[in-house]
């Protein structure tokens, strides 16, 4: 029996390697073909469409080919995904539009402080592997709430876990669909709302027919596209500048050049001490508390997000689940350790060729982004030379030379504009767009599946109709997936202003709601259902309260809950004069826009609301510990089950009917 599975798995491995090898080769050939088409004069717009539609078609074909009518295939890909490939799929699942498009830009703006995100979004996998992931694999759940229900006494714990899951995943998926809309509208010239629904179709084709099985195999295809797309432009740029095609090694020189240029800009009056934030100087954008807070919340959040944990339910064994976490981080690392290179190369370009340049001699790529309102010079969108020349002239004493304070760039531009900055052909820009789409779609697939599975498996099957036959369960799963996807797309189409911040919030919410219960459930046998349930409610509740209050009810936070202004990290001065702001007529306004003087700017202990997990998680642990000790020890039977979860050998604890 054992040998039989091994040989079967071997054949499976070999076939996979050939398949994805051919696919990657085909993709490279396709890029070369488009490059040739560009040289013979095919217009850019057509190249962009070819890129997007070819890649979408491939994902859709994989999605349709891997359709399934089996429950275990639909929910956990039959638990047959080899560690290496699951790692790749997790990489795509993990890296979202924010990682692909936004992170390079954040590092550009924030310098050293931005690295908090790089550290936070990688180190969490250590926690996944040593504390939670492999144990959940041994347990044999279909969803994270499955584990909570089994370990913590039934459907009440299940229900809370589903609430936590939906809260942190829905805003996250909305942001991904928003990202697909943004990329498609920018590169294909589609209307934003149309682009959102086009992205939706792409997502549904991948996920609906084959569930986890289809999502796994498309995510691998998407990973290949996104990593090739991310690395190509900076590899070329690095070769151009320093003669070595490894940007991760050469950007050290770029950083040294940036520092030298910063001093030069200060000396020549192109920048002032007040507006120049030295690239390598730490803790000028985030205070040390918030810097380490972000690292901690993102790391622990990683280990608590259901769409990541459920990827490790799909490996053939516990051993492979552990190896798979290693592969995941390796594939993620390839992108994240390159992101600072994007930031450094872009910053050097901006500091040397834009700052200090005569406004009339700026390069044309600036104006293509300026027309979209993403680059501003002298306070006006940089749509043409004449416009900004006029705008700069209007500033008293302006010498017609761009100063640092004259130049504003949207963070999304950094990665997307790198091909143009480097003067590369349009085909590379199209490639970057396809990569950004792959990143957004793959994460959206994983998140949608997590939400829809929780609703269909946990709510419908486990709580409403435990006798439902397979065919009805699968139908319900697909219908729910469809409706959740449409709801997310409809939300994205309204362009909610908080959407990007909400992605960060999702980590803190997941951390406060899930992490203590998951860890204690595995590592402390004495944890009782009452302890876990009260702990989840308390941790999640406190985190949610802090978020909602500081963002949507800041006046009430100050008046009733003793909140005070957050502080400027560089100077230590309060961000807002609370006494003055409280005297304004809109001080107590509920659900204010971000323009409200106190929204997101008040809190306790100078703690940014993105770090609310730092309040919720310790409370969760404490409540679980105290309430568990007050109650009766869990039954011998339950303790034996916990022992079983801890041993890789043997059958899964939970056996699903299939």
């Amino acid at each position: 029996m054992a040998t039989q599975t091994t040989t079967g798995a071997d054949a499976f491995y070999k076939q996979l390697g050939r398949m994805y090898g051919t696919y990657a080769g085909g993709f490279v050939a396709f890029i070369i073909l488009l490059a040739i088409l560009e040289q013979i004069g095919v217009p850019n717009k057509i190249l962009g469409y070819l890129f997007v539609f070819f890649t979408l078609a491939v994902y859709a074909v994989i999605g349709v080919m891997t359709r399934t009518a089996q429950l275990s295939e639909y929910y956990v890909a039959g638990r047959r995904v080899p560690a290496f490939y699951n790692g790749m799929a997790t990489g795509a699942d993990w890296m979202s539009a924010a990682s692909f498009v936004g992170m390079g830009g954040s590092l550009f703006l924030l310098g050293y402080d931005g690295i908090a995100w790089v550290l936070g979004w990688t180190g969490g996998f250590v926690l996944v592997s040593i504390l939670i992931g492999p144990y959940l694999r041994k347990f044999g759940a279909y969803t994270v709430p499955d584990f909570m229900a089994f370990r913590f006494g039934g459907n009440f714990a299940r229900f809370i876990a589903v609430v936590v899951l939906v809260c942190c995943s829905f805003t996250y998926v909305t942001a991904q669909i928003y990202g697909t809309g943004l990329i498609a509208s920018r590169f294909l010239g589609m209307q934003f709302e149309v682009a959102v629904f086009a992205g939706l179709v792409g997502i549904l084709l991948c996920a609906m027919l084959g569930g986890m099985r289809a999502v796994t195999w498309t995510q691998i295809a998407q990973y290949i596209v996104l990593i090739v797309a991310y690395l190509t432009p900076i590899v070329i740029l690095s070769t151009q500048h320093y003669g070595i095609p490894i940007p991760e090694l050469t950007y050290g020189k770029a950083i040294a050049d940036i520092t030298a240029r910063e001093n030069q800009m200060l000396a020549t009056g192109l920048a002032t001490v007040a507006n120049l934030k030295p690239h390598i100087q730490p803790f000028i954008n985030y205070s040390p508390l918030n810097y380490f807070g972000i690292i901690f919340c993102m790391m622990v959040g990683t280990a608590s997000l259901p769409h990541i944990l459920m990827r490790y339910f799909t490996t053939p064994s516990v051993r492979e689940a552990r190896q798979s976490v290693g592969w995941s981080l390796l594939f993620i690392f390839l992108l994240y350790f390159s992101a600072p290179a994007y930031a450094a190369f872009s910053k050097l370009e901006v500091y040397t060729n834009i700052i200090g340049a005569n406004v009339t001699s700026l390069k044309p790529w600036i104006f293509t982004w300026g027309q979209l309102g993403l680059i501003q010079i002298c306070g006006k969108n940089a749509s043409s030379i004449a416009d900004i020349a006029a705008a700069c002239k209007a500033i008293a004493g302006h010498a017609g030379v761009v100063r640092l304070q004259d130049f504003v760039i949207n963070t999304d531009v950094i990665v997307l504009s790198t091909p143009e900055i480097a003067g590369l052909p349009y085909v590379i820009s199209g490639l970057v767009a396809a990569g950004g789409l792959a990143a957004a779609l793959s994460t959206a697939d994983g998140l949608l599946l997590a939400i829809a599975n929780a609703l269909s498996h946990d709510i419908y099957y486990k709580m409403i109709d435990p006798n439902a036959p397979t065919i009805r369960r699968l139908t319900v799963a697909r219908v729910l997936l469809f409706f959740v996807a449409v709801a997310a797309a409809a939300t994205a189409a309204t362009r909610p202003s908080d959407i990007l911040a909400m992605v960060g919030w999702a980590f803190s919410l997941a951390m406060a709601g899930n992490f203590p219960a998951l860890v204690m459930g595995v590592w402390w046998k004495r944890t009782t259902p009452a302890g876990a349930i009260t702990g989840m409610l308390a941790g999640f509740g406190l985190c949610l309260f802090y978020l909602v209050c500081t963002r949507y009810f800041p006046g009430a936070g100050v008046k009733y809950f003793g909140m005070s202004s957050l502080l400027n990290a560089a100077t230590g001065a309060p961000l807002v004069d609370i006494a003055k702001a409280m005297a304004l007529p809109n001080a107590m306004e509920n659900f204010p826009t971000l323009a409200h003087p106190m929204a997101n700017k008040v809190g306790w202990f100078d703690l940014n609301n993105i770090n609310c997990g730092l309040l919720g998680m310790p409370l969760g642990f404490l409540v679980i510990y105290v309430v568990s000790l007050l109650g009766k020890e869990p039954s011998k039977e339950m303790q034996a089950y916990v022992d079983e979860i801890r041993k890789p050998r043997g059958r899964t604890v939970l056996e699903e009917k299939t």
Binding site: T6, T122, V126, G252, Y291, R322, Y336, P340
Partner: protein, 91 residues
């Protein structure tokens, strides 16, 4: 009641697993947090040839490399513990 031999085996396995967990958690904490608390003095050291300030480098790349390596090491070490106590899955 004295624990049965199999229970003793289970406990020993878990004790070793727990120790490994704390070691890795310690390494994780050091490279995730402690080392970055010294970023300012570390930045005074410039890595030869590459030109990175060391503090910046550790955050942007060094710690990440440590995380990747330690995950593969952990998978191996935990598997060794599982095998030692006869709790590993069949190959």
């Amino acid at each position: 009641m004295a624990p049965s031999p199999s229970q003793a085996n289970t406990d020993a396995h878990w004790q070793k697993t727990t120790r490994l967990m704390f070691i890795h958690l310690g390494v994780w904490f050091f490279f995730g947090y402690v080392i970055h608390m010294f970023v300012v003095p570390l930045n005074k050291i410039i890595i030869p040839v590459l030109g990175f300030p060391l503090g910046f480098y550790m955050a942007a790349q060094g710690s990440l490399i440590v995380f990747v390596v330690m995950l593969f090491m952990f998978a191996k070490q935990q598997d060794k513990i599982d095998r030692e106590f006869g709790m590993a899955e069949d190959d």
